[in-house]
Symmetry: C2
Subunit: 408 residues, 2 copies
């Protein structure tokens, strides 16, 4: 008799964006003519950079001829892309990462979800609250938690509470955590760790032999000079952290699928008394369960790192960050409390008038025909907050903010 992984039954009903999609669909059914503006799901809207599209066309043509056709590529990614990543994202910032420490993947979500597999079931896990739900959910599925409690927290998880008081940048806990998920710039709060704050985490991890899983999918949106783009800007971090990056938000790859994970050779885990390289384990995981990223996608990703590509994606990022500025200045007039929007394309709004975040969702959908994301979807600490994203069309974003203003 095939028994299922009963840990799945601990997960609450619906994944956040599925629930949002459902509510929007129900609203559309009743109001088929409503002109809905979505500032909800963190999805980009601007087209791919011309240099990226050009690279795709060239790669597709290579695949059309026997002489240049490519079959299976290396599970870890093609050399040309590994080199571009190392040079563009690390050497350029004075960080020494070698190509065999980088693993190209079909996106940060997969890596963030799969990385926990190489660790023991008994590891104590720390996750920020609020945060991108994948860190927590994948550990629930793997059996690293108890049941979901009535207060919305899972038993057995160390929650790192982001609050207005700590500027949504929680520091290390008093307990010992083995695996620590950090997201900076943060989704959903838009907060980003300073070097000083991040150093505390690296020191904590080195002292306790913990591993930080550092999700920096939004690093391209950092505008302030003291905010590190990579955790490896902190001395000693190669002995403390895995870094996960994505081209989804950097270069509009949400529908193209490419990211990467850095597992430094210096990073170790324990098996009984033995020290084991996590790089070896992740390489084994990827070689066994993954078959590499589309050649066409990898050539497209390489183009992101070209001079032409970099200039083109910067324009798009500037466009989105101008939206963030518009949102922030619009809300400032409304006297709404908000965070983020400076080093991230996310604006984290305190719900007004004691509204819960789902009440705010329903209010904005009904009264302003604007879709945002309820903070509660990112953890209990988000229950009085609401996430808006700067990924929309500029004109539509302006209109959305006007409509929201009128709705209150």
């Amino acid at each position: 008799m095939a028994k299922i992984n009963a840990n799945y039954m601990k997960l609450p009903g619906s994944y956040l964006f599925v629930e949002i999609k459902k509510r929007v669909a129900q609203f559309r059914e009743k109001h088929p003519n409503a002109d809905i503006i979505s500032l909800g799901i963190g999805d980009v809207t601007q087209p791919l950079a011309p240099a990226v599209v050009k690279a795709m066309h060239q790669a597709a043509d290579e695949m059309a001829k026997a002489a240049t056709f490519r079959g299976y590529g290396p599970e870890q990614g093609y050399d040309f892309l590994l080199k571009a990543v190392v040079k563009g994202d690390y050497l350029a910032r004075g960080i020494k990462i070698s190509e065999d420490e980088v693993f190209i993947s079909d996106g940060a979500k997969c890596d963030v979800g799969n990385i926990q597999e190489i660790f023991a079931k008994g590891c104590a896990v720390a996750v920020p609250d609020p945060v991108y739900p994948v860190y927590l959910d994948t550990n629930v599925m793997a059996g690293r938690t108890g049941e979901l409690k009535k207060n919305g927290y899972f038993a057995g998880i160390i929650y790192l509470k982001g609050t207005a008081e700590n500027n949504f940048c929680p520091g290390p806990p008093s307990e010992k955590a083995d695996l620590i998920y950090l997201c900076s710039p943060n989704n959903p709060t838009g907060a980003a760790f300073s070097k000083k704050q991040l150093k505390k985490w690296v020191d904590y991890a080195r002292k306790n032999e913990s591993v930080i899983i550092y999700d920096s999918a939004y690093e391209a949106y950092i505008t302030e000079p003291d905010i590190p783009h990579s955790i490896y800007e902190i001395p000693g971090a190669q002995e403390a952290a895995i870094e996960i990056r994505s081209l989804s938000k950097t270069a509009g790859f949400t529908g193209v699928r490419c990211g990467y994970t850095v597992v430094p050779q210096k990073l170790i885990g324990r098996a009984d008394g033995d020290k084991i390289k996590l790089n070896t384990l992740w390489n084994r995981r990827q070689s066994t369960k993954f078959n590499g990223v589309s050649y066409i996608t990898q050539k497209a990703a390489e183009a992101v790192y070209s001079e032409e590509g970099r200039a083109q994606i910067k324009q798009v990022i500037d466009y989105y960050m101008e939206n963030a500025r518009v949102i922030c200045s619009g809300f400032a007039k409304l006297d709404l409390k908000m965070y983020g929007g400076v080093n991230a394309p996310y604006i984290w709004l305190k719900t007004p008038k004691g509204m819960s975040s789902w009440e705010m969702f329903d209010h904005l959908l009904a009264k302003a025909h604007v879709v945002g994301t309820p903070g509660a979807g990112f953890g209990p600490a988000g229950k009085d907050y609401f996430r808006l994203t700067a990924f929309g069309d500029a004109e539509r974003t302006k209109e959305a903010i006007e409509r929201i203003g009128k709705s209150f």
Copy 2:
């Protein structure tokens, strides 16, 4: 202290194709001018079909304009591709599968590796021997086995031995297995289950409430009429089996990455006494840990199912199967015992003169400059066998067979 998943330590040193790559590299270093022909790794060599390349170009152009740009797609795949799969692979054979039973992925290897996650750790697993190593390795990683024994078998696994006596089509075991991996047409033996043989498996699974994970990545190579292309051709199989398919070998997508998994709504697993739909669990798994396949890839995959695309890929499959015929008739003259090559692009050779399969590998590399795959890499039952593939260039394949003939 971060402890690692100690199950990884049970795995033997190297993944098969990594070891082969290493030996070939060592040989090349010593003999830089050797003209090596690879009939080893099961990788295609012919270019993508023109219809597929055309669809890629069109999709890339859509991604270049804001009006037609696509961001995140559904984790389960786009409707257009789900419809094409249902119509082309199932309705066309009289099988009723609905779109919400199909999950598009970036390839069969990922799905085959990940599917075990939705089952309990305590499930008894049956795997063919010899077989594609991913079924076994991913269950070792998940902790469903004991240690590797000296005889090459893992403790706690039910092995389904494929031998010349059972034509490499083993029947159900006397023990109760909960999860059963079947691969038909088989990699590496080239054997394929008949309807009658497969019915025995479906009956066994229904009786024991087991789940068959049916890998039919090579169904496009079936030439004999009695061989089922889908396990769902067997009545009742929708209550007994998950089916995993790939475009890698069907349409040369090894470097493009697209496959799919069918989890019928009727298929259930047990959680204590409760019956749980496996479709719901897999949907949850994919929604949480996966972010869909590249839009460009999905449009390319859709083109495989067009009339034009089908005709073009058929030509390529015929080309490879002519290679299979050449290999078989060449070996027949040498009086070598062999299997497969009729419903699969694999020829499974009995090693001559009492050679072990790795001895045969080294012999062919040194004496014929031909790379094949040692049967031992697919399990202990493969230790006296050797796999050759029909995916090479026609002229090179002919030459390889001539060289092999001379080497003995």
